[in-house]
């Protein structure tokens, strides 16, 4: 499997964990620690998929996603949402998300979602 994937999460543990799991499957991964840096990277690079945490201080994942879609970026986006936050899922799909994974999550399941998003 190949492709560049951007991972945006303010939690370093999650960021690194997702990165190492995706890299173990042969993907080329870059990470960003917050919404503004995530948005900048998403607009600058060409990505096969973006994994985006919803709950980030300042600019949330939904805000980043909305900005991307408003600017015509149609890269597949998989959201990481907290369990029990169905409103985030609704808002995410309304903003143009392609899929979501609920925390706590299985890295293997996330990899499967990313693989599916890559087509």
């Amino acid at each position: 499997m190949s492709g560049r994937v951007l991972v945006v999460d303010d939690d370093r543990d999650i960021r690194d964990l997702v990165a190492i799991k995706l890299e173990s499957a042969g993907l080329d991964v870059e990470t960003r620690p917050d919404g503004p840096q995530g948005l900048e990277a998403a607009l600058d690079g060409s990505w096969a998929a973006i994994v985006l945490d919803v709950m980030m201080p300042g600019m949330s994942g939904i805000d980043v996603l909305r900005s991307l879609r408003e600017r015509g970026v149609q890269t597949p986006v998989i959201l990481l949402t907290a369990r029990g936050q169905e409103k985030d899922v609704e808002a995410g799909f309304a903003a143009g998300a392609d899929d979501y994974v609920t925390k706590p999550f299985s890295p293997r399941a996330l990899l499967a979602r990313v693989t599916a998003a890559l087509g």
């Binding site: 939690d11 543990d13 964990l17 173990s24 706590p104 999550f105």
Partner: protein, 322 residues
């Protein structure tokens, strides 16, 4: 007349004050230096050990054994750090990666410390330990958590019940159902959420709890039976419409709105005609049921029930109807 203090005395006071200020500043500086040193040590440990924890999360098959051997070979301070890191990650991780992280925490010697903490005199430490036991799920965790679900502190009981939700075991469900009792000190939402994690096993236990001798357990079970929509619970909820305790009857009625039963119509009409809060609750439940079942019941309420009950049954005031 004021006698001036001797100059020598003033000098002594000045020197003592200066020494005190300098001493305080030195202590503060030392404290900050130590704190920074600790933070640097933690950062260094983190940089050294995080790759090992991350490696564990993606280890497949036999690979994890090698990682665990390396963890066991670490110095005590390193093992403590790696145990904490694995524990922190467990909050957000499930599946195979979580199993590996639990093994890392175990290899790091975290489990005995957590078990020891469950016996601490400090309720905050016991509550933290209960949460950790739930995440680490070592052998014996279920029994210890069931004990903590009866802890003198309601906070500890709450954390323990929440943690028990993750254990797919009848004994865990029994403890959670017991926490549904109104005087358990555990918020009903916590116990309900823990039950919802249990799937079918929860439905079975809730059905049994609907017949419990303790009315507060019956009330708690009646509250969640509708949320769980457990198959077969409707029959027992119908029986609870005639329970000796009013709060149990009302809880059963609320749940029957979600799991309607034609057999409930008769008992609900009788309750509706009793009037008061109970009668209104019964009428509301009847209104939520299919109209084909309740047409005659509603007509009877229209003729015989008090105004509040009629309103609850969705009927217009007689004066307005006239």
């Amino acid at each position: 007349m004021i006698t001036p203090l001797p100059a020598e005395f003033l000098w002594v006071v000045l020197i003592a004050s200066s020494a005190l200020i300098v001493g305080s500043l030195a202590a503060l500086l030392l404290q900050r230096t130590r704190r920074h040193a600790r933070a640097r040590r933690r950062e260094a440990l983190d940089a050294q050990l995080r790759p090992l924890v991350l490696e564990a999360t993606v280890a497949e098959g036999d690979e994890i054994d090698d990682v665990l051997e390396r963890v066991r070979a670490l110095a005590r301070v390193e093992r403590e750090h790696i145990g904490r890191t694995a524990y922190q990650m467990l909050r957000d991780i499930t599946g195979e990666a979580a199993t590996n992280l639990r093994a890392v925490a175990d290899a790091a010697g975290l489990v005995p410390r957590v078990v020891a903490d469950t016996r601490s005199r400090d309720a905050v430490i016991r509550a933290d330990a209960a949460e950790a036991l739930g995440l680490l799920a070592p052998e014996g965790a279920l029994e210890r958590l069931r004990e903590l679900a009866r802890d003198p502190s309601p906070e500890v009981r709450t954390v323990a019940v929440r943690a028990l939700g993750g254990f797919d075991d009848d004994a865990a469900v029994r403890s959670i159902v017991a926490a549904l009792a109104a005087d358990s000190g555990v918020p009903a939402t916590v116990a309900t959420t823990a039950l919802l994690q249990q799937g079918w096993a929860a439905g079975d236990r809730v059905r049994l709890a609907l017949e419990d001798e303790d009315p507060s357990v019956r009330r708690g079970a009646a509250r969640v039976a509708g949320i769980l929509q457990a198959p077969g619970s409707a029959e027992r909820l119908v029986a609870l419409v005639d329970d000796p305790l009013e709060s149990v009857r009302i809880a059963a009625m609320r749940s029957l709105e979600r799991v309607p039963s034609r057999d409930a119509v008769g008992p609900l009409v009788r309750a509706a005609l009793e009037g008061g809060v109970l009668g209104e609750a019964a009428a509301t439940t009847l209104l939520a049921m299919p109209g084909a079942w309740t047409r005659e019941a509603i007509a009877r309420i229209d003729h015989e029930a008090e105004p509040g009950v009629r309103r609850a049954a969705g009927l217009r005031r007689k004066e307005a109807a006239a």
